[in-house]
Symmetry: C2
Subunit: 205 residues, 2 copies
């Protein structure tokens, strides 16, 4: 029965992909905790119920694993950010929602964001990561730009900066807030909220 064979085949592929995802998620936990420079394959395996040898059954090498992890992170990240630009009818509401949304994602998973900045810095040295990092950066930039366009739509004005410049400034605020949040600064989240709320209108002067 061919259909049965196809189903079985698909289930096998799915199982393989599921395990890859499972291992990558465990790797992400280890990476978020220790950072790229201090995370070995054995450390990653310790975060799973399997032995270190298995990692080479599901991934070609360490670079392959890390790359896959970055892509997993991207999915989780975009999913988290989705719906940031919710329903906001007035410009002020949108500006506040923007700051609140970014502050919330930062507070939600600071260690994952720390890993993101670590890996982005690594991509400046390791060619292998560059493509994936660029893709994530592009997605984040689009997310920010949608926010800017929504604000433009409500106010009936035109933004006076490029999408990449807008992303760069929001990212700068976010990265600094993460740094201070991890250092224990109480005001980091509030400052991020304020900074974003104020930045959005500035992009239209």
């Amino acid at each position: 029965m061919p259909s049965s064979g196809a189903v079985r085949l698909r289930s096998r592929v799915d199982k393989f992909e599921d395990r890859r995802r499972e291992l990558a998620d465990a790797a992400l936990l280890a990476l978020a905790e220790l950072g790229y420079a201090r995370t070995s394959l054995r450390t990653i395996a310790d975060h799973t119920e399997f032995s270190h040898g298995l990692l080479h059954y599901y991934f070609a090498d360490k670079s392959d694993l890390i790359t896959y992890c970055v892509q997993r992170y991207k999915d989780a990240c975009v999913q988290r950010y989705e719906g940031l630009v919710a329903e906001a009818s007035t410009p002020a509401e949108l500006a506040v929602a923007c700051g609140d949304g970014l502050a919330a994602t930062l507070a939600d998973a600071p260690l994952l964001h720390r890993l993101w900045y670590d890996l982005r810095a690594q991509s400046l040295f390791e060619e292998a990561f560059r493509a994936d990092v660029a893709e994530i950066d592009g997605r984040l930039q689009d997310m920010i730009w949608r926010l800017v366009l929504a604000y433009a739509d409500i106010t009936g004005t035109e933004p006076t900066c490029t999408p990449s410049a807008a992303y760069a400034m929001f990212d700068g605020l976010f990265q600094q807030a993460l740094q201070r949040h991890l250092a224990g600064a109480e005001s980091a989240l509030d400052d991020l909220r304020d900074g974003c709320r104020d930045l959005l209108p500035r992009l239209f002067v």
Copy 2:
């Protein structure tokens, strides 16, 4: 002769410090080239005319060496930035000079700036680096804020953001420009110039 003894002692200390500086500068070259995660003490020694064992004669351990390197970087960095806010009589001149200055420092030593962002990311994981990184961040923030205050002085207005927010946004632009510059983007430097020139007035609305 006590004065002679003091001179000899000082000259010895100087010699020791000189060699430390020499080794740290070689280490900075290696670090800028390979990044923190891929630079070993033997690699660093390969960038000098000495053997790897000598590093432990002048530095307690690797962390000590890296910390000293970061401080060396800071000195070079601040020195480079000094005089960025030169004589500019009109607001437009100052805004242009700001963008030009940052673009020039980026073009001058992109690998050192890459190392800076690498080490700053590492400091999010490694407690030992945090204090030095925070100090450099503070100096850079002061530098940016002096620029903003100079602009305020010329225009007779008051900035409408905090020093840390101003630094975060400029830093975001700079970091993105570095990323694109290293990736070979021709427009990176020009975009940085434009971004900075436009950002400065935005901080006063």
